[in-house]
Amino acid sequence: INAEYMGIQIMDLFVLGLPTCGKTSLTKVVFQKLPLHEAHSLSSSNSVDVIPVNNNPYIRFNVYDIPQCVGLDDYCKANPAIVQRVGAMIYVIDAKATPFEKACDYFKQCVAILLKYIVKLNVEVFIHKIDGDTFTKGDEYKLECHKDIQNLIKNELVNAAIDLNVSYYFTSIYDHSLYDSFGKVIQKLWPQIHYIVNMLDSLITRSKIEKAFLFDVLSKICIAADTTPTDPQNYGICSDMIDLFIDMSFIYGRDESEKNAFDDESSSIIELQSVSKTESSNTFLMLRQVENFIALVCIFNEKDLAKKGLVNYNIDCFKKGLTDIFKASEPKKQITNIDPILQYN
């Protein structure tokens, strides 16, 4: 069954890895707002944890945190409907748990099992726990880890005769790298991404915006960005701005009974002064809601903000375009002229 043809979005994620590598803490920190200082006191998982992400009706997927003690093969056999919707496997390796042989061996097993059930699978490796003194002092240790893991995995895959492209990401729950990496993983799976990136590109050229990001405000994952090169610093600032905005809105912007403070008119502008000597003008960050729980964050230069009304109008057009794209991609409920056996139920 070609699920894509049937309009089902294949965006679910399987998160796998050895025990204590950090799968549960990273999924909970990103999708369930677990406070960082509680991440250490999580107990070992012994069953599959499913985190549904459906803040926005058009971007819905599930994240499955599968511990090693649950046999992956049995789980896949018992839940074919779940496996059908998986688009990517995220394998988490604890960068502090050298040597990596055991991790890479289990990785090969997981890949082999999943390839039995899934035709198109993105394989992403998160080199996790990149924090603490060993990593902040310089990049050499990070690159060493990367090289080791890459070589081990390449050997494992060659031995198992599996031909696959593996992507590597460095992550830590203590900074933006985790959110950035999740964002990249999701972007690869999202079918509408190309249309949206095109729209963002035309928006920034016509409105003289330096950089624009589309964020899911609850999980702070960047679901789209324009094609100009991203400065990780700018990405971090935009992500922090969302925190600031959501917290402030939560205090002042809602009535007692409401839980949600992010509505149609939510917006924010933050003015930043550049400390470097070459720049004399200030930088502005503008945030505007474009969809349920999706915000557009733009970075401008002071001189270009003079035409604020024009920019707002362009963003309104972008908003409408985004809604159109989402509506057009809704899974088709009615399928005619197809053999009843293939109908999605």
């Binding site: 971090g236 403070a261 502008i269 930043l272 400390v275």
Partner: protein, 348 residues
């Protein structure tokens, strides 16, 4: 601005207290030179047993440290004195007294007068997870006695710290138990107690109240702001100090359900400013809105930020900005005027 008060060499300690007095005067002479005309200096003692969290707290509030970086701190070596500028001309002379038992013996013994004299505020920190409650209370009692001897008019704040290790439902119970114990040993001082943790906004609440106490003539600032509030038809006006982002005072036209919102805002904005430190940007101004409210954070005077919250849709942003800009010099005078006093000299 870290001035370490050095331990008098063994030889002077052995000789007599007069010799160590001369030594202390030499060291203190440097401090006097740093003060200029018109500055108001307040001595704030930060005491508590070892690892209670004193240095972490002051680093977070005054030195832009992130909560997670304070885990790296070792113990404080004797007394670390720092001069912190706060709101215009007010300077806090913060004495972070290392809490190792060896040092505490000295504070109550040979350095007694030196430490406890001329103190405006004593902040005593208890680690709520400490197993040696008797030892904690003994040290506290000694501090109170010494303070009573040398600075009768000082104000005492007690922070029950590291409350994050206690579960939500037990927090009040544990706090009240501590309160009973502490009030019993507080002698003649009326002690104000707070429960704090570096992981949430309670830290800012406690330090905000401490700062509030230290600012003289704060009612003058409040009356000024009251007028501004009615003039601009705003719901709320809050004044924050620039570097620490502690709330100084607020005017509430429309009642709000959350009494802890100010420390939450302090925490929120401080976190954002911290994240900007590694970039080449500095926070200037901010506007946040949704269909129910608008909040502006303006760069107000040289040492403060003003936050304006409006729910009335008729208030024009440009008019508001013009009004506030026009009034900045007036408030600059009020705020620096309240902290100006003839220079204060520490006497022996």
């Amino acid at each position: 601005f870290c001035l370490m008060i050095r331990r008098p060499p063994r030889s002077t300690l052995d000789r007599s207290s007069a010799a160590s007095d001369v030594y202390k005067r030499q060291v203190h002479g440097d401090l006097n030179k740093m003060m200029k005309e018109g500055e108001k200096n307040e001595k704030v003692l930060l005491m508590g047993r070892r690892f209670s969290g004193k240095t972490s707290m002051r680093s977070i509030i005054f030195a832009n440290f992130h909560a997670k970086d304070t885990i790296k701190f070792g113990f404080t070596m004797e007394v670390q004195s720092s001069k912190v500028k706060f709101l215009g001309n007010l300077y806090l002379n913060l004495w972070d007294c290392g809490g190792q038992d060896l040092f505490m013996e000295q504070y109550f013994g040979t350095l007694r007068e030196h430490i406890f004299k001329d103190t405006a505020v004593l902040i005593y920190v208890f680690d709520v997870g400490s197993k040696d409650v008797e030892g904690d209370m003994r040290n506290y009692e000694n501090s109170i006695k010494a303070l009573q001897e040398f600075s009768k008019g000082a104000k005492v704040f007690v922070l029950v710290h590291k409350m994050d290790i206690i579960g939500e439902k037990d927090k009040m119970k544990v706090f009240e138990e501590k309160r009973a114990l502490i009030t019993a040993k507080s002698g003649e001082f009326k002690v104000e107690m707070f429960k704090t943790s570096i992981w949430d906004e309670t830290l800012y609440q406690a330090w905000s109240k401490i700062a509030h106490f230290l600012i003289p003539k704060i009612d003058k600032i409040e009356t000024g702001l009251n007028e501004l509030c009615t003039l601009c038809a705003t719901d709320e006006l809050v004044l924050f100090e620039k570097s620490t982002f502690l709330e100084i005072c607020h005017i509430e036209e429309k009642t709000h359900k959350d009494p802890h919102r100010f420390e939450k805002i302090s925490n929120i904005i401080k976190q954002f400013k911290l994240s900007l430190i590694s970039t080449n940007y500095q926070f200037e101004e901010m506007m946040v809105k949704n269909s129910k409210f608008r909040a502006y954070l303006f760069d107000f005077t040289k040492s403060s930020y003003l936050m304006v919250v409006i729910s009335n849709k008729d208030v024009e942003e440009t008019a508001l900005k013009m009004n506030i800009d026009a009034l900045k010099p007036y408030y600059e005078k009020i705020i620096s005027g309240t902290t100006q006093v003839l220079s204060h000299i520490i006497s022996f």
